[in-house]
């Protein structure tokens, strides 16, 4: 209970800060929108059915917008010395990890929630389906789980904006592949039985990397 | 056959580059260490 309260306190702090400035949400949203526009321009001329590239466009957009969020969330924390404050607070370090992870999950999900109707309109597809929303959620959990850990790492380096995607994208590949496959399968109306192994892979990734990142985070912030 | 030759040639070339790279760096460092040791010795003698 204690643990949950403290975790939520960290999330709440980030939400309050964001509500005051609305910096992060607006920049992520505009960035995602721009990506969609650029993608639809670059594909429209050559691809006959835009629906066929939609899963790829969708997840690339989410991954790029998510990277923006991760970079900002942790580099601001370190630049302004707020992380040291958090470390001094009487709580376990893993609490900080879960707090930051949930915060990132929340902000990325919020952007995705706004983007989905826009996607539906631009690509003329119905994306608001339970199975699809579950895929988006699971994919975002995996992304945020590894992303929060690696963003903490990248924020400590020189050239942090470059560092995060270089570190993150090769590792996040299973999430991207399985999420794209699930999305395509759902859009094509394939039966669940033929997609179940992708769902299992995604859930497996989420569990493994939540556990690994939780254990490893301690070592990143010490010292 | 020429592919076989090329493959092994490249393999050995890379191995030698790697090995000699390590060896030459090791030698250079050993020399540097000698020089530093001597410099330290001299310093000690000057101080005493």
């Amino acid at each position: 209970m204690q643990f949950l309260n403290k975790t939520l306190a960290i999330v709440w702090k980030d939400v309050l800060a964001e509500l005051r400035t609305k910096e992060m949400f607006s920049s992520m949203f505009v960035f995602a929108l721009l990506l969609v526009v650029i993608f639809s321009f670059s594909f429209d001329l050559r691809v006959e059915k835009v629906a066929e590239v939609a899963p790829g466009v969708l997840w690339v957009t989410f991954a790029f917008a998510g990277t923006l969020q991760l970079n900002r969330a942790l580099s601001a924390e370190i630049e302004e010395g707020r992380l040291d404050g958090l470390l001094l607070a009487p709580m376990e370090r893993s609490t900080i990890y879960f707090g930051k992870m949930l915060g990132n999950l929340l902000f990325i999900s919020a952007t995705e929630a706004v983007m989905l109707p826009i996607f539906s309109v631009v690509f003329n597809l119905n994306l608001i389906r339970p199975a699809f929303l579950l895929t988006v959620f699971l994919g975002t959990v995996g992304f945020a789980a590894v992303g929060t850990l690696l963003a903490t790492m990248a924020a400590n380096t020189r050239a942090r904006e470059v560092m995060l995607p270089v570190l993150l994208f090769p590792i996040i590949l299973p999430v991207v592949i399985s999420a794209v496959k699930l999305t395509a399968g759902i859009l094509d109306g394939l039966p669940w039985a033929s997609l179940a192994h992708w769902l299992r892979l995604l859930i497996g990734f989420d569990i493994i990397f939540l556990a690994v990142s939780y254990m490893a985070f301690d070592y990143l912030v010490q010292g | 056959m020429s592919y076989l030759f090329a493959a092994y040639a490249v393999f050995w070339a890379l191995t030698f580059v790697f090995v000699f790279g390590i060896a030459s760096r090791q030698k250079k460092l050993e020399k540097e260490m000698e020089a530093l040791r001597r410099a330290l010795e001299r310093k000690k003698q000057q101080e005493s």
Partner: protein, 232 residues
């Protein structure tokens, strides 16, 4: 230091002799493969290179765990030395593989059709990122800690990556098949010996690479003593 260098000499000699025997086996002892011809002889060096690459990354993973548990500098040295050797051998596997793929598959690097090639591509990207991370950090202790964490996380993702690439390709037509690996007895013997030789070579290189890193540390230490002496 003395015991160390004796070990080094011993390992040098053993892997050198084994390498000569391996070359003899590959080119003179192993019979010519019926369908692929002499090009198949690349296989004896190609697969062991890939194996050593993968094994080296596994050692980096283990060294990462050991470093985080004890905080001993020597585990960090083992970790990045092994990663370096891993990248070198993976690159060798890629190059020798290309020379085999060109006459056999008629393409140098058909990485989108072969799960193994794609996995190797991802592996190289991951460990380039590993070295980039090290290059962009200054503090030695922090460098070691972060690299250890990244080595662990990266290696943990490899099985999942391979699984997802495998499944992803299942929907594509299988363009390339390795064909039955119907190795005859002398071929198998040659292959196993090469595997052993390469593993030996790996440990030899690791020892020398670790020693090099230790020398760098020693020189740094001496320099510091010299300059702090000047000031004092």
């Amino acid at each position: 230091m003395n015991r160390d260098s004796r070990w080094g000499d011993w390992l040098n000699a053993v892997s050198g002799v084994m390498m000569i025997v391996a070359l003899y086996l590959v080119f003179l002892y192993a019979p010519r493969e019926a369908t692929m011809g002499d090009v198949q002889r690349i296989f004896y060096f190609h697969v062991p290179s890939a194996w050593v690459g993968f094994f080296a990354f596994f050692v980096t993973f283990l060294a990462g765990i050991a470093y985080l548990r004890g905080g001993k500098r020597r585990w960090d040295v083992v970790g990045f030395s092994s990663a370096e050797i891993g990248v070198a051998f993976t690159a060798m596997a890629v190059i020798t593989g290309s020379f085999w793929a060109k006459p056999t598959w008629n393409a140098w690097w058909p990485w989108q059709q072969e799960p193994r090639l794609m996995l190797v591509t991802i592996l190289l990207l991951i460990y380039f990122a590993y070295f980039m991370l090290r290059a962009f950090l200054q503090d030695e202790e922090q460098k070691a800690r972060f690299a250890a964490v990244y080595g662990i996380v990266a290696f943990a993702s490899v099985p999942l990556t391979f699984l997802s690439i495998r499944w992803w390709q299942r929907l594509h037509p299988v363009v390339f098949d390795r064909g039955g690996t119907g190795l005859t007895r002398p071929m198998l013997l040659t292959f196993l010996f090469c595997l052993l030789t390469f593993t030996m070579l790996y440990f030899t290189l690791l020892l020398h690479r670790v020693r090099l890193a230790r020398l760098v540390d020693e020189v740094e230490g001496l320099k510091k003593r010299l300059y702090s002496g000047e000031r004092g």
